[in-house]
Amino acid sequence: MAKDVTDGTRKKPSERIRPFTTISGVPVNQLYTAGDIRQLDYEKDLADPGNPPYTRGIYSNMYQGKLWTMRQFSGFGMAEDTNERFHYLLKNGQDGLSVAFHLPTLMGYDSDHSMSEGEVGKCGVAIDSLADMETLFKGIPLDKISTSMTTNAPAAILWSMYLAVAEKQGVDWKQLRGTIQNDILKEYIAQKTYIFPPRPSMKLIVDTFDFGSKHVPQWNTISISGYHIREAGSTALQELAFTLYDGIEYVQWAIRAGLDVDDFAPRLSFFFNAHNDLFEEVAKYRAARKIWYKVMTGRFKCKNPKSAVLRFHTQTAGCSLTAQQPYNNIVRVAVQALAAVLGGTQSLHTNSLDETLALPTEHAARTALRTQQILAHESGIPGTADPFGGSYFLERLTLDMEKGCLEYFEQLDALGGMVAAIENGFPQRELQNASYEYQKAIERGDKIVVGVNDFVLEGEPPIDVLVIDESVAARQISKLRKLREIRDNGHVRAALEELRKAAKADSVNMMPYILDCTRAYATLGEICDELRAVYGVYEEPAY
């Protein structure tokens, strides 16, 4: 029998912890009044939704026009398993797909590589070649749905496989809608699924910008991500500043490669975290739109208004969820999803309650989706744009967020840009310090995590979790080996040879060469091996 032990870290339950700060440690006043936002100029700082600087939202009618896209990230086991989950999610009212790949795919290894042992199908779906990608989208018409693919170092390869599936389905690339994450900078900073060093990685990314703007015009060729930066322990401000500055770095590299800013900038998209501190999060999204507008029109002198509009996806904060009393996570996710909607997100993933234990069960995944549907259809919140706009507190936080962000920009400019800052270790150190401070604040009891350091329950019964069948690896490996036997290996070798030559030349767009390799059923591991041979691999500086 579970026993409530609410002794926790506080002396008595009514005791309040001082000073009051946001979850990121920013001081909060007892009251905000008109005096706190005296400097605010409506037209300059806010403006109506759909008008620059877009602080209040990017569309004049916001969710009255169209609700956000409910996009649940999923992937596990073999392509067949995830294809079944995709059909289930689409049947249950989900609008768009979002693919989670397993770690070997993200790291450029085939399922039979020695480094892949124990990882096949665990954190996502195993994709080794076009054959797996065909299975993943079986029965799903690619001109009817939009697909987000969370892949970074090998993004160009997995996108090529998707484009090849579209060819097989007879779908014109111009009709394809979706996103590849393709954001390598935050990998070096936070999530660490990098393969190649920063400079060749940036070249591959610029190639996808160029290729996309010419051939796949509705595709978002990057999702510049703060999500992982926050998960790795940053504050809300650091998430905002590093993400937007990553955006600046991509734009600079593309312009330096000879691209016109207005050709690719409208296809840049962003991805933010939604953590627990509601007002701080809403301020973050509003400040993001305003700052990006200023960056694109100021620094980069864009002419197309669409180049200066920040569109973003949001995911609720996995790192905020607890293994203790896991049903409490449903409430956390609801608050975080509310922040994303109040902040005007374009799409949203709500995490499952069992995420700290394993990949979600079908029941947990459905509850997460239902949370969004309740917000959309029962809460009344999507009825009006930026409903918190004008709140003294929110507007003050939004202004402060902008100020703090511009201070970080100055530091990053002085370091010579983000690639140089990463090589210097600056953002990595900032995150390590912030995550350590947060952990200490919890252990001191300065921050309460319900069920973890207070309101603790002893003897909780375990909940059911999804277990990935260990036979997945053997079946995936046998499928892969069979493919290597039946494909035209002469064709594969020739395509890989051309790829290597193009990589060495360093002046041609790599996309056509990668596409030819995937069409020939070269595996992801084989393609990455060719690129590793030319580009080298990245090693993180010693800790």
Partner: protein, 132 residues
């Protein structure tokens, strides 16, 4: 013999989630331990080799990818082979309840699940190190 407790903090497998490993490494240092961090993507052989070379008292394994039931048994087997029986092994990460007893049977002394405090982990190590 040096009195300081020597700990190897290791990230075996492909998992790149190193927030926990880095927080715990720093907490160990603040507690006066000597800490060696392997860096990311170590094979079981590399982890055990580092434990041997560095002559550590404790190995702390961090795995969040679900590969712990492949990686931990391999590491324990290699440690036995190298006669590192006196080294205390602890693990943390996304490790569900049902795997804990199996890992303990293999010789992993303790598993710290999400929400564990660095103070508790440090206290556990102090109480159990060099007891074998």
């Amino acid at each position: 013999m040096n009195d300081k407790i020597r700990v190897l903090v290791a990230k075996p497998g492909l998992d790149g989630h190193d927030r926990g490993a880095k927080v715990i490494a720093r907490a160990f240092r603040d507690a006066g331990f000597e800490v060696i961090y392997t860096g990311l993507r170590q094979t079981p052989e590399q982890v055990v080799h580092a434990a041997l070379q560095e002559d550590v008292d404790v190995v702390g394994l961090s795995v969040l990818s679900g590969a712990h039931m492949t990686l931990c048994p391999r590491i324990m087997e290699l440690m036995k082979k190298e006669s590192l029986d006196d080294v205390l092994v602890v693990a943390g990460g996304i490790i569900p309840d049902q795997d804990i007893s199996k890992l303990k049977e293999l010789g992993v002394s303790e598993i710290f699940q999400p929400g564990a405090s660095t103070e508790d982990i440090i206290a556990y190590i102090r109480a159990n190190v060099r007891k074998k």
